[in-house]
């Protein structure tokens, strides 16, 4: 007679499917997962401690280095929090340029997340296609800001440089090319029967469970909850931003939602370029004392900075709340419970797009 024994299966911290070190301890009955715990702490940097006592021009670069994949949003949220403290107005042209940089960053982050999902369900061809597309997006980011990852584009009262006329004309053409390619790849993902077998109905996070564990970002929107911090941002409100949701609640919904959001980002950038107001890109303004809590929508969900600064604009206290921690919790306590095989555990975990560098800072 076949005996089913309870085993404890550790996944990670070194695992080919994980981008960053994290350990998942799964309790399994045979191969069915009955419970899981997550173990963090493999890449703590203590970056909030380093930030203390420094002025914005130093903290800005540290904030970018919290996370390598979503660096622009860390820069943006930190600087906009400082602007809120010191009442620095942003010129309209700079506000639109910020949105362009941020959406390009979101595109490359979502493409990387979808690459890593395809990789974890062993569909490497599609994964490599997406990675190739991500390179093109990063080239666009480099053309706009001068660097691929740590752009350092946003400063208090504006942005570092205006978009050159040549790039402003070339950007829509390359967006067209990216959109065409992406439409093909998203179609491949949507219609692939093998992909559907590995993704549809796997890693269910129902809407009630999602509300209970407070998931954020694409993970929440994939479960049908329309939460998005961009709806509170004045520039996005001007652009008429409406969050996308999908009701399916499984891995497939989360990955397809990211594809949808990349299309949405492309549309937002096009709208920005069409409506780009004229004028200066830097308005000036000195950082002052105060404290605030400011949130922005990172590619993975709500990112919050709590900042207290002294009279010279130096950081006295700073706390960063990153989106991934809620998603990782939800992932190991809700999504992977009841998975039928260990192979689904990694795929489900990656579908929530955990960013360990953000989480541990």
């Amino acid at each position: 007679m076949k005996r089913i024994v309870d085993v404890n299966i550790p996944l990670g911290p070194i695992h080919p499917c994980f981008k960053e070190p994290i350990r998942l301890k799964c309790e399994a009955k045979g191969e069915r997962i009955t419970g899981a715990e997550v173990e963090l702490g493999y890449m703590k940097k203590g970056i909030e401690r380093i930030m203390k006592g420094r002025p914005w021009q130093e903290v800005m670069f540290l904030a970018e280095r919290v996370c390598g994949i979503c660096s622009v949003i860390h820069n943006m949220v930190f600087i906009e929090a400082m602007e809120q403290i010191s009442d620095i107005p942003v010129p309209p042209r700079a506000a639109y340029l910020r949105v362009i940089a941020n959406e390009l960053d979101r595109m490359q982050s979502h493409l990387l997340a979808n690459f890593s999902y395809c990789y974890s369900i062993e569909h490497e061809t599609l994964g490599m296609y997406l990675l190739d597309l991500r390179e093109q997006v990063m080239d666009e980011l480099e053309r706009l800001t001068g660097a691929r990852v740590t752009c350092a584009y946003i400063i208090p009262g504006g942005v570092r440089c205006d978009i050159p006329k040549k790039e402003a004309e070339a950007l829509p053409a390359s967006l067209d090319r990216i959109e065409g390619d992406l439409r093909r790849y998203a179609g491949m993902f949507e219609g692939g029967p093998m992909i559907a077998l590995r993704s549809r109905g796997v890693g269910i996070l129902t809407q009630e469970a999602a509300q209970r564990v407070h998931v954020v970002g694409p993970t929440a929107r994939g479960s049908g909850i329309a939460v998005d911090c961009r709806t509170n941002h004045p520039t996005y409100q001007k652009l008429g931003f409406v969050p996308i949701t999908r009701p399916d609640c499984d891995n497939f919904a989360r990955v397809m939602l990211r594809f949808d959001e990349v299309f949405q980002s492309i549309a937002l950038i096009r709208k920005c370029l069409a409506e780009l107001p004229k004028g200066v890109v830097r308005g000036g303004g000195v950082c002052k004392a105060g404290e605030t809590r400011y949130s922005g929508e990172a590619p993975r969900g709500e990112l919050t900075y709590f900042i207290k600064s002294d009279e010279f604009g130096r950081i006295v206290e700073i706390q960063i709340q990153t989106p991934s921690i809620m998603n990782i919790e939800a992932c190991c306590h809700e999504m992977i419970i009841g998975s039928d095989s260990i192979a689904d555990v990694t795929a489900t975990f990656i579908s929530a797009d955990p960013c360990v560098a953000c989480t541990e800072r």
Binding site: L62, G146, G157, G158, C161, P164, V281, G284, F312
Partner: protein
């Protein structure tokens, strides 16, 4: 199966498969690399050192009878702030310098001296170490006393008094000489752009 054949029988794919050619690796002109000298004379304003967010990445050193900024590449994070901060256009990186000239952007510096009265013992080390004080009053003694009104700060009746905060060049020499960490120089940076006329963009 049919789908796979259709996918890989595309002319584009076959062309890619047979005649794949990687473009040569060249650094694009817009890439923000390590700062390089433009050839203009360094005026020893030291704003590059003050703007630099990475510790010890740039220092201005003697070269013959002048000064040159020296980049330590292991420390430099290629942010390009030194290029923007330099008032004399000594450094360049990517297209930052030409963008600045075209758009009229610059970084404005101002310095504030913050002294923690509870930590300060009035030893006067900061006053004697300050290079601006040395120029204003070469006679300043070890206690930091001075009868000269042109100095940035001096010790009066056992307490430190800041007279000319505006003269501070932000070098932070006082910070390193303070035994208690009582004096802190705040470097306040402001992004600025000259208003542009309509139609230039």
């Amino acid at each position: 199966m049919v789908w796979y054949i259709r996918e890989f029988a595309r002319a584009e794919w076959i062309k890619k498969f047979l005649f794949a050619k990687t473009a040569p690796l060249v650094t694009p002109s817009h890439f923000r690399g390590f700062p390089e000298p433009t050839g203009k004379t360094c005026q020893h304003a030291l704003f590059c050192m003050m703007a630099c967010p990475a510790p010890g990445a740039i220092e201005v050193v003697h070269a013959g009878d002048g000064w040159i900024p020296k980049i330590h590449k292991g420390h430099c994070i290629r942010c390009g702030l030194c290029v923007e901060a330099c008032p004399n256009g000594v450094l360049k990186s990517g297209r930052i310098r030409e963008t600045m000239e075209r758009e009229g952007t610059s970084l404005l510096f101002s310095f504030r001296i913050a002294i923690d009265k509870d930590l300060c013992t009035g030893c006067g080390n900061c006053c004697t170490a300050c290079p601006v004080n040395k120029q204003a009053d070469a006679q300043m003694g070890a206690g930091g006393h001075s009868s000269n009104d042109d100095v940035i700060m001096r010790v009066q009746e056992g307490d430190i008094v800041v007279i000319h905060e505006d003269k501070c060049t932000g070098c932070k020499t006082c910070e390193t000489s303070c035994p208690n960490g009582a004096i802190r120089i705040a470097r306040i940076l402001e992004g600025y752009q000259q208003p542009v006329q309509e139609g230039l963009q």
